[in-house]
């Protein structure tokens, strides 16, 4: 407050500050279900080091995480578990679909595998590759950070998540 008692004007918005704080302190939940999980470990460890982007505090509890990194094939049996874990995360929350299996089912176009996690939870960023290279993951993370800063992306994906409806009515193409 200025010494003469005149009202102070904040030259930015609170949103911009909180978004800036959020994008630089993403706490990821590693949901590694298969081989992509190994590549995720490579991104998190010293060679590529995701902590340079503020995402080094890996939390194994959904209640303490902001970003779920879904790395690996999601089987139909795992799908309700993933949905439960996603719902346990506190807002604001983001989802990274890591690799083709998570994004679209990948090569597993058959009865046991979910054809993309975006059929059950809203996804903020897709990273292609089988598995994706660590550089690709870092690129995806930086894209996500840009979108967290603008704030648009998370609102759009939340709205889409509400449209998805209950699980059993979906589940990819039937026959």
């Amino acid at each position: 407050m200025p010494k003469d008692g005149s009202p102070e004007i904040l030259t930015t918005t609170v949103d911009a500050i909180s978004n800036w704080a959020r994008k630089n302190s993403l706490w990821p939940l590693p949901f590694g279900t298969s081989c992509c999980g190994i590549e995720m470990m490579a991104v998190l460890s010293s060679d590529y080091d995701m902590s340079r982007f503020g995402a080094e505090v890996v939390r194994f509890s959904p209640r303490q995480a902001d970003l779920i990194i879904c790395a690996g094939t999601i089987t139909l049996k795992m799908a309700p578990v993933l949905k439960n874990i996603y719902e346990q995360m506190a807002e604001p929350k983001w989802v990274m679909a890591f690799g083709v299996c998570t994004s679209s089912g990948g090569i597993y176009n058959a009865y046991p595998v979910l054809q993309g996690i975006d059929t059950i939870i809203p996804v903020d960023v897709y990273i292609p590759g089988c598995p994706p290279s660590p550089e690709g993951v870092i690129h995806g993370l930086m894209q996500l950070q840009k979108r967290i800063q603008t704030g648009e992306y998370s609102r759009a994906s939340r709205a889409r998540g509400r449209e998805l409806g209950p699980l059993a009515s979906r589940g990819g193409q039937k026959t």
Binding site: K77, V81, P112, Q115, L167, K174
Partner: protein, 176 residues
């Protein structure tokens, strides 16, 4: 050495099986395939396991396939396959038996405890039942799953997605 030993084993096993052997085949790697009747499969496996000098102690795999539209479909739609390995001779043999839809096959858990989960997998994916199995439940798929996906009449993209995770079996919730 191994090839000669295998031939000696085959001759010996043919003698031990006697009338139980329906047909003897070879696959492309020259692995002998002993076709036996469903009712006699445990006796045949026991002969391979316990006859002196054969000692096929190791059940390396137990699986099955759906032979719909095969040449011998009339004798039973499913073929249950037993892969045996002899650690002494370092040789492999294979047993096969046929089972029609809804017909039970005697369980191999009386010979190998390792057959337990393998038979559960066969039951889960093909719906072949095993007589005398201690715990014949689904092992891979959700317990609420309808049908058996490795059957040829099951559409390969027929998804079954459930709202909630698989319920925990009641016997696991009980305190001992």
């Amino acid at each position: 050495m191994s090839a000669n030993q295998l031939e000696a084993h085959v001759a010996k096993l043919q003698e031990a099986l006697g009338g139980m052997l329906v047909r003897l085949e070879r696959d492309r790697q020259n692995v002998p395939i002993f076709w036996v009747k469903r009712e006699q499969v445990i006796d045949a496996l026991r002969a391979a396991k316990e006859t002196n000098g054969l000692e096929y102690h190791f059940l390396s795999d137990l699986t099955a396939y759906d032979d719909t539209d095969g040449e011998d479909e009339a004798q039973g739609r499913f073929v249950v396959v037993y892969q045996l390995y002899s650690p002494q001779g370092k040789t492999r043999i294979r047993f096969k038996t046929r089972a029609a839809d809804g017909v039970s096959v005697p369980t191999a858990t009386v010979l190998w405890a390792a057959a337990n989960w393998a038979e559960r997998e066969v039951f889960d994916l093909l719906g072949v039942k095993f007589d005398g199995h201690p715990d014949l439940r689904r092992i891979l798929l959700d317990v609420r799953w309808q049908g058996h996906p490795l059957r040829k009449d099951y559409h390969w993209r027929k998804y079954q997605l459930f709202n909630d995770p698989e319920p925990i079996p009641e016997h696991l919730l009980k305190e001992e």
